[in-house]
Structure formats: structure tokens, C-alpha cells
């Protein structure tokens, strides 16, 4: 029986390099937000740069697109972290630090088999699918979530000749 975890990708264009004063509060808040995520119920994994504790230095989608990516056990676990902790305060101020021009959606969710991890390429493909088709079982949003796929029950009939 396969169970599923929730993968998440979020992108944005920082308004300035992270060293600029306008970004100071964002940068200062990161350690606390990351520690909170790591300790949150239902948290499984988040994308990290090899040398730092987070993904803020990564630019797989182009020089001005920042990303974060994570895995959770359920939509509710993610929603609780995102909206019901001090993370909400960071979200409240997001327009001070990030632009989203040129993006249709900037957050996408999808289900992955438990025990696997998403790749940035897969994440981008899911975001493109969300932009193209709107929310659906393969790519959705917090506002319009989809349930995980029904666990696959594989029935092996031992009496069947494998050459049939």
C-alpha cells in the first residue's frame, strides 16, 4: 500500500539582493521560520543549499527567481505552519520583499509517494501544469487542495502462470 506526502514549491522575485537594507527583516526572520518548520507537526523535509540552512542562495529557475520547496505529511500540516504560526507575519509583509510579476501562480502543491523527495525540475513542471490547467489532482493550491491519490492495492494472484 502506498501512502503519499505533500510537496510544495513557492517562487518569487526578490525586490533587492538579500544584503540590502530593505530585505533585512526578511533575512533576520529566516532562522526562526526554518527552525519552526523543522519542528512543525507533519514536516518531512525542506530544500537546502549544501552550505547554508536554507534555499535562499539557489537560483535553478533564473537569476532573479528565489524558491523554497518542502514536503509535509498533509495539507493541514502545511496550512497550520503557513497560516497559524508567526510565518503568517512574514507572509503579511511579503510584498515588501518579493514581486510576483510574470508569474501566474507562485505556489504549487502536489502529492508524491511517501519516502521520496521532489526535484526542482518536477516542481517547475507542476507549476507549469497549474498555470496551464488550473488546480487539479496533479497540481493544486492551498485554496483549492486535492486529496491524495487512493492507495494502490496490488493483488498478486499466485496461481497465475507468469507466462500467460
Amino acid at each position: 500500500m502506498t501512502s503519499f506526502h505533500l510537496a510544495q514549491l513557492n517562487i518569487g522575485r526578490p525586490r533587492a539582493p538579500l544584503s540590502e537594507p530593505v530585505m533585512a527583516d526578511f533575512v533576520a526572520g529566516l532562522p526562526r521560520l526554518n527552525a519552526l518548520a523543522d519542528a512543525a507537526p507533519g514536516f518531512v523535509w525542506r530544500l537546502r543549499d549544501e552550505s547554508t540552512d536554507d534555499a535562499t542562495g539557489l537560483r535553478p529557475f533564473g537569476p532573479d527567481i528565489m524558491l523554497n520547496m518542502s514536503v509535509w505529511t498533509s495539507v493541514e500540516a502545511l496550512r497550520e505552519y503557513v497560516y497559524r504560526t508567526v510565518h503568517l507575519e512574514a507572509l503579511r509583509r511579503r510584498a515588501e520583499w518579493f514581486r510576483h510579476d510574470g508569474f501566474d501562480h507562485h505556489l504549487v502543491l502536489w502529492w508524491i509517494p511517501a519516502g521520496t523527495l521532489p526535484t526542482v525540475d518536477e516542481a517547475w513542471a507542476r507549476l507549469e501544469r497549474l498555470d496551464r490547467d488550473g488546480p487539479g489532482p496533479e497540481a493544486f493550491t492551498l485554496r483549492r487542495p486535492w486529496p491524495p491519490p487512493t492507495p494502490a492495492f496490488a493483488t498478486i494472484r499466485r496461481d497465475v502462470d507468469p507466462d500467460d
Binding site: 497559524r84 508567526v86 503568517l88 507575519e89 503579511r92 509583509r93 511579503r94 510584498a95
Partner: protein
Amino acid sequence: MTAPDDLEPGLDGLLALGDPVRRAAFRAVTARGGEPVSREEVAAALGIGRTLAAFHLDKLADAGLLDVSYARRSGRTGPGAGRPAKLYRPAPGEHAVSVPPRAYRSAAELLAEAVDRAGADAVLHQVARERGRAEGADGDVMTLLAARGYDPVRDGARIRLRNCPFHRLAEQFPPVVCGMNLALVDGLLDGAGVTGWLAAIDPSAGHCCVALSKAKHR
């Protein structure tokens, strides 16, 4: 999109509040902030008999305004421990009626999504702060907040808000609506000259995401 507030089914819930004693019984339950109350407690609060209190509470439950549960108040268990008490608490859900049908929530959803997409939060915060200030409100912080439906309660050095007037909208657009709410409360306090309290985003289970804490004196 949200359907307009129409006569059904909102009216049944609200008609149940027509009787003044029933309305008082409802208030006695909601004043407890979600904690289940018994008919005895409501009867005592209203100065009426238990049977009359139970009659009104059961009518409110039938109308969908209250939820019923059973629990042994004394902590005893097993045979001879007595019947569990019937307890009442506010039912989840909202009841609204408008004549003729209005759909302000649908409009609010569209506007919130537009602000979200445009990244225009700062403008919304400014507008909300100005509106809050312009209310020209007066009074102490608890009265100010209660008058606007926040149902405030002291919790140590904090004030927590047990009701969010924008609840459903905030569930759909938390950063935009909670940010708006914070700016509104900020403006309200400012306009009323309240300096001893500071509003901030401080979510806790079952409460509005805005809470107030004592302002530090410099």
C-alpha cells in the same frame, strides 16, 4: 463564489433569536467562548428556572445555533455515578440573511484575490489604518474591540480575540485579510488614543490571528 445571503436557510437560525429570553440564553452560552455550559449555569446567569433554560437552549440547538454534548461534570464514573449532564456550546457556522439578496462576501473574495495578485497589500494596510483611525472611536480597549464584534478576552498580559469578523474571508486569503485586520485594529487603537496596548499577528488555536499585548514603555 459565495451565494447571496438569502432568506433560507439563514432565517431559521435567526428567528430562533427573536424571543428576548432565548436571545439572552444564547448570549450566556456564547459569552463562555466555546466552553460547553449546562442549563443550570444558564439558568443562574439569567435568573430563570432550569426547565425554562433547557427549553430555550433546546430550541436554539434545534435551530442549529448551538451544539449539544454530554459529559459527567462531577468526574465520577460507573453505575450510580449519575446521568451525564447535557451541555451546550455555539455551533460552528454562520447565519446571515439579507433582503433583498446581497452578495457582499462574493465581492470581498474578488477584491481580496485582486489585492493578493497585485501585491497591493501596503495600499490595503494604509486604507484600513486610515479607516480605523477615522472611526473616531472612544473608550477603553476592551469596549472598543467588543463593539466591533471581536469578542476580546484577557489572557495574562495579552488580549485575545475570540471572534474574527472576517473569518471565512481570512480562511481563504490569510495574508491579505489578516494584514488588513491588523491595520484596522491598529488604526482603531490609534484613533481612540489607546497607547497601552500593541496589536500584532499572533495566531492561536480558535482565535483571531491578531492579538494584543501590553506596550512597552520607552
